[in-house]
Amino acid sequence: MAAGHDEAKGNGFVGWLPVLLSAGIFAFFLQFLPQIAAGDTLRVEWAWAPSLGVALSFLVDGLSLTFALLISGIGTFVLLYSNSYLAGHPQYGRFALYLFSFMLSMLGLVLSDNLIGLFVFWELTTLTSYLLIGFDNESPKARRSALQALLLTGAGGLAMLAGLILLGAVGGSFEISQLVPQAEAIKGSGLYVPILILILAGTFTKSAQVPFHFWLPNAMAAPTPVSAFLHSATMVKAGVYLMARLHPVLSGTELWFWTLTIFGAVTAVFTSVLSLRQDDLKQALAYSTLMALGTLTMLLAPSSGYAITAFATFLVVHSLYKAALFLVVGCVDHGTGTRDADLLGGLARFMPFTAFTAALAGLSMAGLPPFIGYIGKELIYANTITAGDAATFVTVMALAANALMFAVAGVVALRPFWGKRGDTPLEPHEAPWPMLAGPMVLALLGLAFGLMPLLAEVNFTTPTVAAILGDAEKAKHLHLWAGVNTELMLSLATFAIGGLLLALYRPVRRFLEAADAATPSFDNGWDNILDALYRAAKWQTGILQSGNLQRYLFTIFATFVVAVGGTLLLKDAVNLGVALDDMNSPRHWPELVLIVAAALVTASSRSRMLAVAALGVQGIAVALIFISFGAPDVAITQLLVETLVVVLVAVAMLSLPFLDERGKNDRRPKDMVLAVLCGVVVSAVLIGVLQGPLDLRLTDFFETTAAPEAFGRNIVNVILVDFRAIDTFGEIAVIVVAALSAYALLRTTDSSRDRDEEEEELS
């Protein structure tokens, strides 16, 4: 990845600025730690769209502060690491901008107290992660993975938006802190089930629960530091975060418990099996991330102190070791040119610091004492054996997943560094210090928290439990040694099974590869869904957008007939009986007969001259009607325009062909039916209007003010040039624009036509 760039040049200012900014953000959040650890919460609010109940409100409590520190802390290290990993990359500025924006969106997400504000930040993380996953935009694989992540989490996000709006409507507020006291009312409401399903659709897609898990391993197409950030503490934890945040509002029902337990447990076991199957170290870590997400989901199912303490602990544990390991894999990739588990071995001699870091993080991941990972695992077991009806199921699932994680930790963190030296593309060399600092600090923190569990308990787990369960008393203590108990036995069983799997790694992997190849792939299923969607889009576009003017017009007129005619029929608005009494004005019969005859001749004529002549007759007959009924100005204009129309058409026809090709006829029965229906509907509407009362207020106003105020005696003229002068001015502008456009169309020389003519002359 980084090999092709001018590494010596570095990234300069653009490389260091985001590191300093995010370190500043981390320090800013760190100052709240004593206050939050003491049991306080902070809340700030700015109005955004008050009429909609949407505010930019932020809540700092144990849960959000833990997340904020993980995000900004790991973010700082990741930006520091990227600056070396992508040293001299021509697009580094873009990369740093995306990563930093992503970090800010993520911080907004975990701090927001308003459901709509939270959703906005949620979608911002979706968009920025799309840009990050697709950062290598010349690779079709990266583009596909980015789009897959965007569509899947975006679709989940839309479902979630509906759920959040319903939740706000039922609870009477969009502020989460105000929804907590309403929890019982919300759970009792008839909308509880749809709310839960819609919100879980969002969190399960974001946190990649089976069967939506496949986007996450694909998202490894992103540069390694991005994977380290997105898949340790941020993007995929957003779903888990939201479930934790809404835990006080939505949990405690059978539906909540069983949905989270089953999805979480199945995800944890299924993906840890897949994790062991991978030969790419990064892919193995990606699948183990899914295992962690499944475990966290499972831990949020109950409301017991053990479960939530285990959740809070494992959240911190996983973020620390997973970010460290992803970054270590990046160092290995950087130093050797490969991430293939089969090619790597004996790297400890060449990359001692990387090996040391990997060992620390791997031991925490394996859940060995005295690392915090061990404490996390003990708490998980403490929760599963007290899980009531589900105890056996979740304990077995947790045991399986943890044993598999033990083996994966060995594969990722130990095998590449010990044993026989592998055959790597590059001569192995140690990574530079900015790439080692982050993973080493994170891995050492895992050890420090393990040796001093009180540090993690006071600052992170107890405040988080207090934020979720509303009571710091329910938080359990973190111990390295809790005596000989069931949890310890389960841990020993985990190590035994995990060690066995590690010892039999090659045959186990071959078996898993065969099994994986024999089962249908979710990724292919996704392709099929997308293909079907494209086909459906093409099919419906083909129907709606035929590109044929006649069909468009037919649709428009048919819609007019159905909508207006249907309304008339439904409302019974027209009384046709009255209309037929109106035959007693013989003086004007000639004009009407002329109009009807001329219209019919125009419509049916096959001769251009006849059609134009009939149009002229019809126009003059209309002018006669205007003049008969007290509108001389209108009549004069009509006569003038009608003359111009006929002249223009006649001139244009000098160079246009005949109406119909020789031997062809213009008989269209279907169009005729529609045309007649249109005519009937227009007549009916007009008759309906004529039967109604006439509002003369405007006319009265113009009649009484024309002479005294506008000093004009011709009321029509006064209206046009005085009362509606701007309108008339606009009308003049329209005519000028039409004239200019027509002039432009006529003047531009047309080379293609000339060429055609030349060709015709030649042939």
């Binding site: 009924f629 100005d633 204009t637 223009l648 062909p657 249109c678 227009v682 039409a738 004239a739």
Partner: protein, 120 residues
């Protein structure tokens, strides 16, 4: 008289729609002229018909005599006639230009932007 005129306008609209649905864009233009006239006449008729009394104010008077024609629809129709003429003139030039460039007056053959053929 109004109701009779309403039916006449219906006939004009029917003829206009039939013309506008034709393949040949010159027929479409004929339909456009016809439907503009029908619309103008409809506005005029909806304001009620008053034979032989234009809306004028006599010298010295400050208001028109009782029972003059409704001035408002006349003003609207005047505007509409002129705008309709602008539209017609532009459409006619467009048709002329389309014919000189594309060599056809049939709307379904004007497909330079999206040629027919197997979908991509």
């Amino acid at each position: 008289m109004e109701f009779l005129l309403a039916i006449t306008i219906g006939v004009m609209v029917a003829a206009a729609v039939y013309l506008m649905l034709a393949r040949n864009v010159l027929r479409f233009i004929f339909g456009l002229i016809l439907i503009s006239n029908a619309a103008n006449l409809a506005i005029f008729t909806a304001g009620r018909l008053t034979p032989g009394a234009p809306p004028l104010i006599k010298e010295g008077a400050y208001a028109p005599a009782e029972g003059v024609a409704n001035a408002l629809p006349q003003a609207l129709v005047l505007t509409a006639i002129v705008i309709g003429f602008g539209l017609f003139a532009f459409a006619l030039v467009l048709v002329y230009r389309a014919y000189t460039t594309l060599g056809t007056l049939y709307s379904d053959e004007m497909d330079a932007a999206e040629p027919k053929g197997p979908a991509q």
